[in-house]
Amino acid sequence: MNERVDADAMAGRSSGKRSPPRILRRRYLLPFALALPIVLYEGLLIVYPIVQGIYGSFTRIELASSAATTWVGWDNYERMFSDPAFWKVIRVTLLFTALVIVVALTVGLLTALLFNRPFRFRPIARGMLMMPWAIPEVPVVMIFIWILSPQFGVVNILARMLPGVTQNPQWLQVPELAMGWMVIISSWKAFPFYSLVILAALQAIPQELYEAARVDGASRLQLFRHVTFPGISSTLELLVVLAAIFSFKQFTIIFLMTGGGPSGTTETIVIRIFNTAFRFYDYSYATALGVAGFVVSLAVALVFILMQVRRTQESA
């Protein structure tokens, strides 16, 4: 007979049918031993650099010369808050993030509602729906650079159909058009994920609710308002926060297509941080910008976590 079982029995922890399994009840060091390497690993490569970055934002870093880093206090932050270019970056970031949330989630919701209805070839259609999400960002950029080519780009066929357009537009040189395309491309890449998540939520709505509502004579619009929407509203809330996080992080598409241009009109904060550090070699100021970005993303992440906690409490 196993000693552990005897010990349990002696302590009066007899296993009733509903009591949690024995493996879950004992206290031991094993979980800490399992989690420790991960915490150390993430600590070294994620947390330590963040702490370093916060420290670095109060110093002047000279990488090229061997001059020592000097403490400059709040200088970088004073410069940041008094820099009109910084506030422009914030405006661009907010505009881009808000537009991608709206466009990607709207398209995601509409496609989910459409693909939730039964029709033949639905698995094939769904596979096609997921394509943009599965293609890596660099090839996505290549495709759209080619589609938007002012000389031969296929999108010009559509543009030429508009009244008054006689020349192929310089798609990425005009501020409004460049921002519009960054939003469209980022949303095209992101919406299948949202669509898939909403589809899962739609399929979790019990069919009986629809039948009952139909028996009561509900119209289609009423079905959506009183059955479908309440069924997916908490998922949609969660997705707004996730979409905010994902679009705030968007780097590769903007960086490779416009680099933040024309004249900074698509320069979001992540692009600005990169340009400040690796084009202007101003590492200290870039770390200060990084801390600003960190504060924002931490705030959004906290919202997500609070929503998660609320969800688990509701389901418990």
Partner: protein, 291 residues
């Protein structure tokens, strides 16, 4: 009586016509929406598989005029794309192995064991997954420079693994949650240690989840652009994501080669992502949604 029957008949036929129109409308909508969504992908294929004399013409033909297959051989002979792909493969394999080893431990602690720090550990993983990568780039770059770890494939794999590990743990946690606690209980009663139970019971029951983690980690590193571009600035170590971004369409690289390069790079991630989408969704939403 007769009138009633007739009325109900027209009602049924109207119902049928309505359903038919509805059905046709549904198919048309689905077709149009799908076309818009996949058009960019279609355009990549079209531009790859026909000679550029057709495509370098405005307006370009919307249907392929002639098929052409030499672009792949030309691409591989004119650009070091084989070396780029090899580098990507090495980075991806190292990231994958590291993530698989660590995520099994983390997911077991998060899913199958109850301990005081469990929720905090889960939150810690959640937050690290949500921070923009570029925020950590500068301090990590300075650290790597000081430690002489720039231009090294294993050093980059270490970073890639750190970014994707939290998502891998959340994916595996969702899979491990499905192992019935009674089974684990029984194995401990039979004298198995906890790690023995993980090895003999949890892992064999979680093969698809392990495959999902392998796919997610592998292709995160395969697709990653930002860190690869900064940490591997030397041409010898350049992975495909960075290499492809240096190609310039028309001016330097013929369009069919340019698009063929994008196609070659995308085939594997598309196949594997589509196969594993369910798991990836649950990992990215930290288990909030099971796709």
């Amino acid at each position: 009586m007769a009138a009633q029957v007739a009325e109900s008949r027209t009602a049924t036929s109207r119902f049928h016509v309505g359903r038919l129109i509805n059905g046709a409308l549904l198919y048309v909508t689905v077709a149009v929406v799908s076309l818009i969504i996949v058009f960019p992908v279609y355009w990549m294929m079209i531009s790859t598989f026909q000679p550029s004399k057709y495509i370098l013409h405005f307006p370009p033909p919307l249907l392929p005029q002639e098929l052409y297959f030499d672009q792949f051989a030309e691409l591989f002979s004119e650009h070091p794309i084989a070396r780029w792909l090899r580098n990507s493969f090495l980075i991806a394999v190292m990231t994958m192995l590291l993530c698989m080893a660590l995520s099994v431990l983390g997911a077991f602690a998060l899913s199958n064991l109850r301990w005081p720090g469990r929720n905090l550990f889960g939150l810690f993983l959640l937050v690290t997954q949500m921070l923009p990568e570029v925020l950590i780039l500068i301090p990590l770059y300075i650290l790597y420079r000081r430690l002489n770890m720039l231009n090294s494939i294993p050093s980059l794999a270490l970073i890639d693994a750190a970014f994707i590990l939290p998502i891998c743990i959340w994916i595996l946690k969702g899979v491990f949650d499905n192992v019935p606690p009674e089974v684990l209980d029984a194995s401990v009663v039979d004298g198995c240690t906890e790690l023995g139970a993980l090895w003999r019971i949890v892992l064999p029951l979680s093969a698809p989840g392990l495959a999902a983690v392998a796919v997610v980690a592998f292709f995160f590193a395969w697709n990653e652009y930002l860190y690869a571009g900064i940490m591997l600035s030397s041409g010898d170590f350049m992975p495909a994501s960075v290499g492809l971004s240096t190609l310039k369409a028309i001016a330097q690289t013929p369009v069919e080669q340019y698009m063929a390069a994008g196609l070659v790079f995308s085939v594997l991630p598309v196949v594997f992502y589509l196969a594993m989408q369910r798991y990836i969704v649950s990992g990215l939403t930290a288990g909030a949604v099971k796709g």
